[in-house]
Symmetry: C2
Subunit: 274 residues, 2 copies
Amino acid sequence: MSKLYVIGTGPGGLEYLPPIARKAIEESDQLVAYGLYLDLLGDLITGKTRHDRPLGEEIERARLALQLAAKGENTALISSGDIGIFAMATLVFELLDKEPEAGWEKVDIEVVPGISAMQAAASKIGAPLGHDFCAISLSDLLTPWETIEARLNAAGQGDFVISFYNPVSIKRDWQLAKAKEILLQYRPATTPVIIGRNLTRQDEKITVTTLAELDPTQVDMLTLVMIGNSDSRHITVEDGEAKRDWVYTPRGYSKKITFAKPSLERQPDEAINS
Amino acid sequence: MSKLYVIGTGPGGLEYLPPIARKAIEESDQLVAYGLYLDLLGDLITGKTRHDRPLGEEIERARLALQLAAKGENTALISSGDIGIFAMATLVFELLDKEPEAGWEKVDIEVVPGISAMQAAASKIGAPLGHDFCAISLSDLLTPWETIEARLNAAGQGDFVISFYNPVSIKRDWQLAKAKEILLQYRPATTPVIIGRNLTRQDEKITVTTLAELDPTQVDMLTLVMIGNSDSRHITVEDGEAKRDWVYTPRGYSKKITFAKPSLERQPDEAINS
């Protein structure tokens, strides 16, 4: 039985691609994806048959992948990040559900998760996802804006750390400004905001600003925007001339534990050699 | 300058460990973790010095890792899943923030993200994280229950897919039942619920039930519980004797696009050889 691998390749750098994803790509002869995601894979896909499809043709990509696999071709449907998060995997199962007579029930589907953009952004700037969080797509192409606005209000009320996927595109330029306006009703103007672009790729850029100073014109489709909760902290650690910015969201240890003075520090405990 | 790697090793299976995490472990001489997480790494940690600390001693683990790195030892602080998500990374930065005189500003910290439990669960059962979602820890050891309850209500109002971390422990046995009761006020009794245990490890078990039938006594600390949103679908695909259960959360394509009848299917497009 032929396989359909549904693979998330992570944020971009191949050092984030786990062995299970690499193996799935190696075992596939047919690759279906938006071309840029395949280009990021470099030599790993040499000799394989590419089916590049432009952005906007998501349903065609998912259907093509199922058709190729149903014909007996080992196939990989590929996206960057985690293909299960705001990406192509859900369309594969929606097609299976909605087109039951297509003959796809024989296809052996395996989903391979990847590191999502919010995780790449979080790791580069500290630990902003240390406590309860949510992820919201600001694209109203498929979801009515009223639903998105209800979720923004709910996320504000619940004081969740929020990652915005699809924050802005050429055609959608006002949603992020509206989201900012809604969230300012719930959390301080000084709330840390992380803006990550091209994470783990060449020209990676990550900056920290505040909710009040968030400038939607600085954000595009390659950008992940993350809004801290009301406890999130932006700190700057200085070592002589060197400075490093970090953002973290505490779990609540400071309410339970008195942080130690240096003089009270414990010595490293006895070690066990492995 | 010595490094402190803060590493999430993913759900368990080493096939989910990306090269960046493997390299960080290889470059570390001192490993600080809850012992089970190190055991899962097998031969990868042979010859390195282990500092096992039991669950509950999280702050001690984070402090020890900073101390070892500040002394010039290349050190890895390790947890399973994504160490940035409800895990140790946030404590490292909280210590940096709260204990500024400890001399840790010289430590070169690098956070390495991993595949989180919710992603492993989602990939094994389809694509339940296909649309807006949140993650909530049900542990009230560090977070007041009122805060958690407010988040549960917000998640219900916002119709987010919800992943519960720390759903149940030996000492905390009622929180999941209460969460279920709250969510039943917002979404149908038939809402799909995914219960994943030991994901990607030996004895992995993943089952699908409904919100009404979710039985908290079947859940423990090694379990990830995920609640669909009001659009999430549980489907069973049958191929002769074989059956496969899938859960997916649609993005909303069905509102925009008429799914094709088999006779209208497009043929696979022309291929480009890579």
